[in-house]
Every structure is written in structure tokens, then in C-alpha cells.
Symmetry: C2
Subunit: 300 residues, 2 copies
């Protein structure tokens, strides 16, 4: 386990888990073209590349806390507070919800594997859930209305929901479990970070001659083609999420990133014009980058 | 003065000087088009955008040391060792030679002003010079041959030169003073960071409606037009450095970034084809971004 003081005394070691997580955030947003999202070559109207750079820099305080062994909820809240310290709004909330437990696992166990990550998330407590709810007070996150019975636990209530959490004894893992289906970040928590590890494997399988940012874009497209993006589904409905996923699957199937880049660019322009952002897919991409960096399968 | 522990206990404050310095490194490389250099839209043959992202992430350990009050030389060596922890080679050595004393000043004094920065660099010691020399052991930096009398102090000797430094009682400020003229990073040290503060002022004077990365590119072009780049002069000779500067001055004079973007792109293509990188200008741009972030004149 690495503490901030140890960082001072071992200044010349390789990148630590928190540093790899910050780099994963940066490589994720730099991957281009990532249809529908901000990337190295595209700013959206009010959400710019620089907001993601500042979000990554700000996140590191919380990522360091996770690395030092702080509870997942507290580290997550710190990471989100730092991430939100820029003018673009929510840039990397979902990424951090995956990265914080993965960083904690990597730092505590010396490696990151599905079973170890599952241990970390299953061990979360009611206090972790409280940290997660507090994080919503730092930034506006798009979420759907909960069922009426769960209204007292609506995440948009932020810290105000904590008494209800405590009364019901709800852990952060419970919160995530209740959010599946419909939230593929939560799905990662309850499936041993299934798609995150698959994304890492895909990244590691692509030849390393080209920039990592190219490989990131290819993996993003493949993930988007694998399952409809749950952020798109929440905002625009299942049908549109499915349509976008089908289109991505077709492009990924013919390796359009290499064979027909223009079609990928057209797809990207179309999504941006329609205001469709595959945010969940980007979050899982970032988690995959982190895992590949930690395993040494992705070198920068 | 902020220590790593205080960072833990004030996780929700604004960006600290070390964080602003890391963000400055990221915003500098993201500014586009920056003729001749890697930028958001351009990778060079063996030096890619991602190497600068990883260099910025790795630098932060040393920037944090400077923020916590460590001596300039030790903090600089740590920053360079972390920066070098990627496969692109030297990405931000010159930037860090400006940022480390500026971060130390901002953290110790609560603000960054020319006279305060001058106090910091004038107070450097022989031990700081030793740290600076040790930094050359972590990464290949392009430097010219020194005069014969100064061969024992050739920076390329790295730590091997330290006995000669100690024998002669040479401080880091002395090293910088001896490097002017011919090295405009060193010139910043002995002129109260003259051009860095001017770059900050220029950044702050541009309207904030457009992304900061646009403003960064405009300031880079203006700086390049103001004085020949000393890295270009070292590698390609004074005449070419002057020619490049004249061209940049002409483009900046007609605000070509806004009025005739194509000419800037042509200039950028030309420099890249000829392998001409205005590295010193990029370093001063990064220092200017840091100052503007610290003063609140550049908001992200």
C-alpha cells in the first residue's frame, strides 16, 4: 500500500495506480474519433477538451486517497470534488466510479484482477454509500427518476438521502446492485468489471506501433457496438441506444477505423449533431485503459 | 505552504500550485496549431501527444515536492525523473525548469510575481545545481557543446559533474546566468521570468469565449514572433531561427490564427517537414499558462 509520504520517498519509481488512473482519464478523452464524445479533435458546444484535462488533474487527489487505502466512498467523493473543479460540469463521474475501486484494489493487492476487484466492491459499507451520495452534491449528474418506493434514496438528493441509507443499512454495493439493469457502470460492479477487463484485453491485442490514442478509439467503437450505451438509453430511449450500437457494431465489424475512417467520422458528426453522447461507453473505456496500463499491456 | 498531508485534509479546495502546473503542461500541449510542435491535432514521427500526457502526469510528484517547500534542484530532479517515465524521451524538461521555481514561489508566498520568483531563483545553492545536473541522467536533453574551459561543467556529464560544481561553488542560479545568451529558459531565470509573465498577460487579454487551447496557440505564435527560439538556433543555426521567428511575427501581426488559419497550418506543415521544433517557445508558453491559472486570469 502506498501512502502520500511513500510517494515522496520513492520519487523515481514507475507510475503508481493513482497516476495510471489519471493517465487513463487523459488517454480516454484523447482517443479520436470517439463518436458523440469530446475527443482530441472535437469540442462539444459547452463541454471542451480542456474541461476533461482539468477534471483529470483534479481527480488525482481522490485517486491518491484510494491508493493510500481510504474507503471507496470517501476517496470517490474527493475525486469527484476535484474533478468538478472546472467549468464544464460533469466530465468523469462514471469513470471515477469504476477507477476508484480498481485503484484501491491495485494498490492494496499489488495487481488488478476481476476477483480482487469484486472483493473490494463487495466490502463496501453504508458509509461508502454515504460518500457516493455526497459526491452528487459536487456536480450535476444525469440520472433517471427512481421508482416511487426508492424516492428517499434518489441519488439526486445527495447528502440529504444519507439518513434513509443508514436507516435501511444500504451499502454502496447494494446501491449498485439496485441500479442494474439500466446502468452499465453499476453492472461492472456486480460482474467483476467484466467489460472493463475485456476492453483491456482488446487494447492489449492491438498492435503497439500506432499511438495508444488510436487503439483507444478502436476499443471505444467496439464496446459501443457490443451493448447499447446506458447513458444514451436514459436520455434518448432504448431504441436510439440500440440504433447507435448497431451502427457502431457494423463499423467495428469491418474495422472501419482503419479501412474506412470517413464512415467513422460521418457517424461521429451525426451523433454530435443529434446531441447523443455514449458516456457509459467512454467510462468503461477509461477503466479498460487503466487495467491495461497496470498490467503493462499498454505502454506509453 | 501546502504539504502532501494538507492536501489530504483539504480535499475540496481549489487547484493547488502543483495542480495548476500540471494543468499548464496539459493545456500547453493541447494548444493547436502550434507550428513545429506536437499538439492536440499533431503527432510527430516518434514523439506523440500521449507522451506529453504521461510526462505531465509523471511530473506532478516533483511539482508537489516544490509546492511542499523542497529545494528547487531536488524538486526539479524528481519532476524530470517522473516526466521521463514514458517512451517519447524528453517532453517537458524546459517547461519544468520554469515551473518548479514558479510553483515553489506560488506555494511559499501565496502568489506569483516577478520579484518573488527572482528571490526563489537567486536563493538557489550548489546543492540545487547538483539536483539540476542529476536530472540530466534521467533523460536525453539536446544541448550544445560548452566552451573548453567549461567542459567539466558540461550538463551532459550529469551527476559526474557534481564534484566540479562543488569545487567551484557554482549555484543553480550561476549555471543559468552562464547559459545566457543562447538559452532563453535561462534568460527567464535572470530577468524575473520576463516573457513568462508577458505570455500570461497576453493569455489574460484574449477573450474567454473560446477554448483556452485556442488562446494558448495564439500566445505561442506571438512569443515565437517576438524572439528567435533558442532551441531552433541551437539545432539549426541563428539564421533559420530568425527566419521562423519573422514568419511567426508576420502571422501574429495579422492575427492569422483568426483571420487566415490556413496560413498558420501551412507554416505548421512546413516546420514539421523540416523537423524544426520551437521547443523553448513552448516552454515559456507553459510558464505563462501557469501564471495565468494562478492569478485566476485564465479559467478552465
Amino acid at each position: 500500500m502506498v501512502t502520500p509520504d511513500q510517494e515522496e520517498t520513492t520519487p523515481k519509481g514507475p507510475r503508481s495506480p493513482a497516476e495510471n488512473a489519471e493517465l487513463a482519464l487523459l488517454l480516454e478523452v484523447a482517443g479520436t474519433p470517439k463518436p458523440g464524445n469530446v475527443d482530441r479533435e472535437r469540442d462539444l458546444e459547452e463541454l471542451w477538451f480542456e474541461h476533461f484535462l482539468a477534471g483529470a488533474v483534479g481527480s488525482r487527489r481522490g485517486l491518491k486517497r484510494a491508493e493510500a487505502g481510504a474507503p471507496v466512498g470517501a476517496a470517490f467523493e474527493t475525486a469527484v470534488a476535484g474533478m468538478a473543479n472546472q467549468r464544464g460540469g460533469n466530465t468523469q463521474f462514471g469513470c471515477l466510479l469504476l477507477l476508484v475501486p480498481l485503484v484501491r484494489t491495485a494498490a492494496a493487492e499489488g495487481s488488478v484482477r476481476p476477483a480482487l476487484a469484486t472483493n473490494t466492491v463487495e466490502a463496501t459499507t453504508v458509509e461508502d454509500a454515504a460518500g457516493f451520495y455526497r459526491a452528487f452534491d459536487h456536480v450535476d449528474v444525469f440520472v433517471e427518476d427512481p421508482p416511487a418506493a426508492l424516492e428517499p434514496l434518489d441519488v439526486r438528493r445527495g447528502a440529504a438521502a444519507i439518513p434513509a441509507l443508514e436507516e435501511r443499512g444500504v451499502t454502496l454495493y447494494d446501491v449498485m446492485e439496485a441500479s442494474v439493469p439500466g446502468d452499465d457502470i453499476a453492472r461492472e460492479w456486480v460482474t467483476g468489471f467484466d467489460r472493463s477487463f475485456r476492453a483491456a484485453q482488446w487494447l492489449e491485442s492491438l498492435e503497439a506501433q500506432r499511438p495508444a490514442t488510436d487503439r483507444v478509439a478502436q476499443v471505444f467503437l467496439r464496446l459501443l457496438g457490443e451493448r447499447p450505451d446506458t447513458l444514451i438509453a436514459s436520455k434518448h430511449g432504448e431504441a436510439i441506444a440500440q440504433e447507435v450500437s448497431d451502427c457502431a457494431a457494423e463499423l467495428a465489424g469491418v474495422d472501419a477505423f482503419r479501412t474506412d475512417r470517413e464512415r467513422v467520422d460521418t457517424f461521429a458528426d451525426d451523433l454530435c449533431e443529434r446531441g447523443i453522447n455514449p458516456g457509459t461507453t467512454a467510462d468503461i473505456t477509461a477503466a479498460g485503459i487503466f487495467i491495461a496500463l497496470e498490467r503493462g499491456g499498454l505502454e506509453v
